[in-house]
Amino acid sequence: MGRTLLLVGTRKGCFLFESDADRRDWTIRGPFCEGWPVYHAVHDPSSGAIYAAAASEWHGSAVWRSPDLGETWALSSEGLAYDDEDGRKLSKVSTLAVKNGRVLVGVEAPGIFESRDGGESWSLLSTLEGQPGSEMWDDPANQPPGHLGISALAFDRDDADRFWAIVQGIGLFETTDSGTSWAPRNRGLRADWPRPHEDVGFCVHKFVRAPSDGKRMFQQNHVGMHRSDDEGHTWTEITEGLPTEFGFAAAVHPHDRDTFYVIPLDPGHGRTMPDGHAAVWRTRDAGSSWHRLDRGLPQQDAHVGVLREAMAIDSDDTPGLYFGTSTGQLFVSTDEGESWNEIASYLPAISSVEVAQID
């Protein structure tokens, strides 16, 4: 029977939750990574390794790796720095993507580093130099709170030279030549603020691509939900029917291109679930209508947030959904979101949740 592994990145280390294919009973291991803040942890199916992007306030940024599903861990930041003469400073490693043993990590200030030796060493792959306005991305005067960085990366399923990157507050970009050149993929997105360049200046929080149809993408933007039917070349807003236009997390059904999950949040300073009622929202018709899913989720005084990488979906015939909150609760649904179980209540603040299914 296969195993289901949840990789949970928290403010105090990485935790691993494990279950069988039923996904009902879970065991927990951790914290790993010496309690460093872990922003994103991923599993490489080709090598079996786990990678965790972490940034210690004391000891700087590094990528931790475990070749044996968490039994042993090591870290490296060899090569994970901008050149002295570059002028930029690497302050945080934010997001990971892995394919066929190649590991990418997105960092602040905006850049993508890669490792081809299983995370032992790193080299700068791209800073998206030449994109409209990119010369201003590292100007402190133009930085919003939290600073700009590469907040998400995603490989194409088949072509390892093709991937997408989100530059925080700037937009979504695609490369088909492994980072040598890039194209903005933001046409049709909404922005409620002035933008000096037509193709960029959009606040993309999260994007996902339908495994069953690569042309179909969804994104949670700072302002609205959006759908693309042409691999991100153009976008259509699908916010109507949701309680707010704001949120971070998103997931797309592994077998149905029209089914997509989001967790709307209050767009103000709180950025928690509206009115203290926890809910995931699902569309089964590509965003024409939305349905609230809250059975088993707290419906009173649940002022919880869910961050960009903190929702995941597995690839079962009846896929399991998982999300973690910024107050340390971890929820699981094994019926496509219809009902939820809380499998951990007192974790540190959760930054990321990823799922791996292992034979």
């Binding site: 210690s56 004391w58 000891h59 901008y82």
Partner: protein, 87 residues
């Protein structure tokens, strides 16, 4: 020779790195050089590119705040502190 004391946040990251040891070095920077020779990667955990000490890594030589250039007299005590951040 420095009487070096390291923070408990650092030693779990490197196999065999003790909390306290004697290090033959003339400056704080040389102390870190000696550590790096034996435990590759230590420098990245204590210094930013430049190099300079990381913002929340404080070094004291005989109880005086130090930087990488600070000289070390014979039998000076060198404390490396993971400071301020946390919680």
């Amino acid at each position: 020779m420095a009487d070096l004391h390291l923070p408990g946040t650092l030693t779990p990251l490197f196999a065999g790195l003790p909390r306290r040891m004697d290090v033959d070095a003339a400056t704080v920077g040389e102390v870190i050089d000696r550590l790096e020779e034996q435990w590759p990667g230590v420098r990245d955990r204590l210094c930013e590119p430049g190099p300079s000490l990381r913002r929340h890594i404080h070094v004291y030589v005989d109880r005086e705040r130090a930087n990488l250039e600070t000289p070390i007299e014979s039998r000076a005590r060198v404390d490396v502190i993971a400071a301020i951040s946390g919680g």
